[in-house]
C-alpha cells in the first residue's frame, strides 16, 4: 500500500469517533480504501467546489455502513470532524444512511439498495448533454447487485456507452454469491479487477475512462 498523504493515518481515529453502527461495520470498512483513493487521488472535487457544475460526481449507492465515507469526508474537510460524534442522533446531519440534502459534498441520499447506478446513469447523461467535463463514479456492494434495478442500469449503460465508472466492492457478502464472478454480470463494460486494499491498483483502475467501466475491488470476505 502506498501512502501519498499523511492524513490517511488519521482515518482510524476518525472512524473510531463514529459509534452506534456496529452492525454495518464490515460493510463500512470494506469501502475505506476505495473511498480514500477516490477522494485523495482521483476525484476532481474539494470542499470549495461541491457546487461547481464541472466537478466530478461520486455517488455512494449502497449507503449502508457509511462510517468510512463520513471519515473520508471529514479527513478531506467536507464536513467538520465534530459531526462524527453522535452519528444518527436527533441533531446529527449524519445518519446510518446518508442524506445528500444534509451533508456538503454528498451527491445522493442512499440506503435502499439498487438506486445509485440508475441515478449515476442519469447524472452521466445530464453532464454529457450539457457538455460538462466531470466524470461520474458510483460505488456499489456485491450484495447490492442482488437488486434487479441494477441490471436495468448495467444493460443500458453498456448499450448507450455511458461515460460512467462503477466500483463494486466485493467482500463476498451476497447471500447466494456470484458464481462465475461479478464481471460477467456487466457485459459490454470494460473491467478492472483490483485488490480493494491497494491504493495504487485502485487508482490505476479508476483512471481508465472506458464507457462504461467496472472496477471490482476485492476485500477480505465479510464472513470469514
Amino acid at each position: 500500500m502506498t501512502v501519498t498523504s499523511t492524513s490517511v493515518h488519521r482515518l482510524p481515529a476518525l472512524l473510531s469517533r463514529i459509534t452506534g453502527d456496529e452492525k454495518h461495520a464490515p460493510s463500512a470498512h470494506s469501502t475505506l480504501d476505495v473511498l480514500w483513493t477516490l477522494y485523495d487521488r482521483v476525484l476532481n472535487i474539494s470542499p470549495e467546489t461541491v457546487d461547481d457544475p464541472a466537478r466530478d460526481r461520486f455517488l455512494l449507492s449502497k449507503g449502508h455502513g457509511p462510517a468510512a465515507y463520513y471519515a473520508v469526508l471529514a479527513a478531506k474537510g467536507f464536513i467538520p470532524e465534530e459531526w462524527l460524534d453522535g452519528v444518527a442522533g436527533w441533531d446529527s446531519p449524519l445518519g446510518h444512511h446518508p442524506d445528500a440534502t444534509l451533508i456538503p459534498g454528498v451527491e445522493i441520499g442512499s440506503g435502499s439498495l439498487g438506486h445509485g447506478l440508475g441515478l449515476a446513469a442519469g447524472v452521466a447523461l445530464g453532464l454529457r448533454a450539457q457538455g460538462l467535463p466531470g466524470r461520474t463514479f458510483v460505488l456499489l456492494g456485491d450484495a447490492e447487485l442482488d437488486e434487479g434495478s441494477n441490471h436495468e442500469a448495467i444493460a443500458y449503460a453498456a448499450a448507450a456507452r455511458l461515460p460512467i465508472t462503477a466500483i463494486v466492492v466485493d467482500n463476498q457478502s451476497a447471500t447466494h454469491g456470484w458464481p462465475g464472478g461479478i464481471a460477467i454480470r456487466f457485459p459490454g463494460w470494460g473491467v478492472s479487477l483490483v485488490n480493494g486494499r491497494d491504493h495504487d491498483e485502485i487508482e490505476h483502475a479508476l483512471r481508465i475512462d472506458d464507457r462504461p467501466h467496472l472496477v471490482v475491488a476485492r476485500t477480505e470476505p465479510k464472513w470469514s
Binding site: 445528500a100 442519469g122 460538462l132
Partner: protein
C-alpha cells in the same frame, strides 16, 4: 391528448436546452423525430421503468428538467420507490406524463390500468397532479410544469370532455351542493346533473387541492367525482372543510378487480361513473 403531449414536448425540447425526455419504449415511435434531433436529451432506456425514474433523478441532479413518460401502471405503480427516493428523497423534480389512466386500456386488462396512481402520489406529498379533461388543456399545463423544478404528474386519458374549461369555476347557474368534477369526469357529471340543483365545478389540478376554493364554493355538502380510486381526495376534502359541518360523497373507480375487458364506457358503467350511474348516486345522496 397523447398527440398534443408529443407535439408540445417536441417543441419544448427545441426551445429549452434544459428539457430532457426519458422514455421506456412506450411512444418511442411518436418521438422518433425528436430523438433524431436531440439524441443527447431524448433518451429511450428500453423497457426499464425503474431505470427511467433513476435516470430522471440523475438528470435533475445535474440541473436538467426531465420529462418521463409511459403507461401509468409502469410509470407510477412499478417505479413507486424510485419516484419516492430518486426524485423526492434527492429533493429534485421531474414532469411525469402518463397515458392509460384507470381503464383507457380496457381491452388490455388489469396489467395496463392504474386507478391507484393519484393515491400513490398522495402518500409522497409535494406533488402537483394535473388531470386534463380536454386535449387543449395539455399544452399550458405541460409548459408550466416544464418551466420550474417541482415534481409534477400529468395524467392523460383517451376520455375527454367536449371542450376545455377553466378550473375551480362554477359551470352553469346551479346553487345547490358542490359537485367537484375532476378532468374527464366533467361531461358525465354535467349530463347526470343537468336538471338537479347542484353547483358543478371543474378542476384539472386536483393536487394541490384548492382548499380555499373548495371552502368558498361548498355549502354544507360536497360531492367529488374523480376518474381514479373513489375517495382518493376524501382526506384532503376533510382537511379543507375542517371545522365546518358538512356531508360528503366520494365517487370514483372501485377497488375491486372487474376481470372484464370491453371498452372504457363499459368500465365507466361498471364503476357507476356513466351519467346514469352518477345520477343515481347523486340523487340518492341529495335525498337523505
Amino acid at each position: 391528448m397523447r398527440d398534443v403531449f408529443v407535439a408540445t414536448t417536441t417543441a419544448l425540447l427545441e426551445e429549452d436546452p434544459r428539457t430532457a425526455l426519458v422514455l421506456a419504449d412506450i411512444s418511442a415511435d411518436a418521438f422518433a423525430p425528436a430523438l433524431r434531433r436531440h439524441p443527447d436529451r431524448v433518451l429511450n432506456v428500453g423497457i426499464r421503468e425503474q431505470l427511467m425514474a433513476g435516470v430522471g433523478g440523475g438528470l435533475a441532479l445535474t440541473g436538467m428538467r426531465p420529462i418521463l413518460h409511459s403507461y401509468a401502471p409502469f410509470l407510477v405503480d412499478r417505479s413507486y420507490e424510485q419516484l419516492k427516493l430518486d426524485l423526492g428523497h434527492q429533493d429534485v423534480g421531474a414532469v411525469l406524463v402518463s397515458i392509460g389512466a384507470s381503464y383507457d386500456a380496457s381491452t388490455g386488462g388489469r396489467t395496463h390500468q392504474s386507478p391507484g396512481d393519484v393515491a400513490l402520489f398522495d402518500t409522497l406529498g409535494g406533488w402537483t397532479v394535473h388531470v386534463p379533461g380536454h386535449r387543449d388543456e395539455v399544452p399550458a399545463l405541460l409548459r408550466a410544469a416544464a418551466g420550474h423544478d417541482g415534481r409534477v404528474y400529468i395524467r392523460l386519458s383517451t376520455r375527454e370532455n367536449r371542450e376545455p374549461h377553466p378550473t375551480m369555476r362554477p359551470i352553469g347557474s346551479g346553487r345547490g351542493p358542490l359537485v367537484l368534477a375532476v378532468g374527464p369526469m366533467l361531461d358525465p357529471v354535467l349530463a347526470a346533473t343537468r336538471d338537479l340543483d347542484v353547483t358543478v365545478v371543474y378542476t384539472n389540478t386536483p393536487r394541490p387541492l384548492d382548499a380555499e376554493g373548495l371552502r368558498a364554493l361548498a355549502g354544507d355538502a360536497v360531492i367529488v367525482v374523480e376518474p381514479y380510486l373513489a375517495g382518493t381526495s376524501a382526506a384532503l376534502v376533510a382537511e379543507a372543510m375542517s371545522g365546518r359541518s358538512y356531508r360528503s360523497l366520494h365517487l370514483g373507480v372501485g377497488r375491486g378487480e372487474l376481470r372484464r375487458y370491453g371498452d372504457p364506457a363499459d368500465h365507466e358503467r361498471a364503476h357507476g361513473l356513466d351519467p346514469a350511474g352518477l345520477r343515481e348516486s347523486i340523487t340518492r345522496f341529495l335525498k337523505v
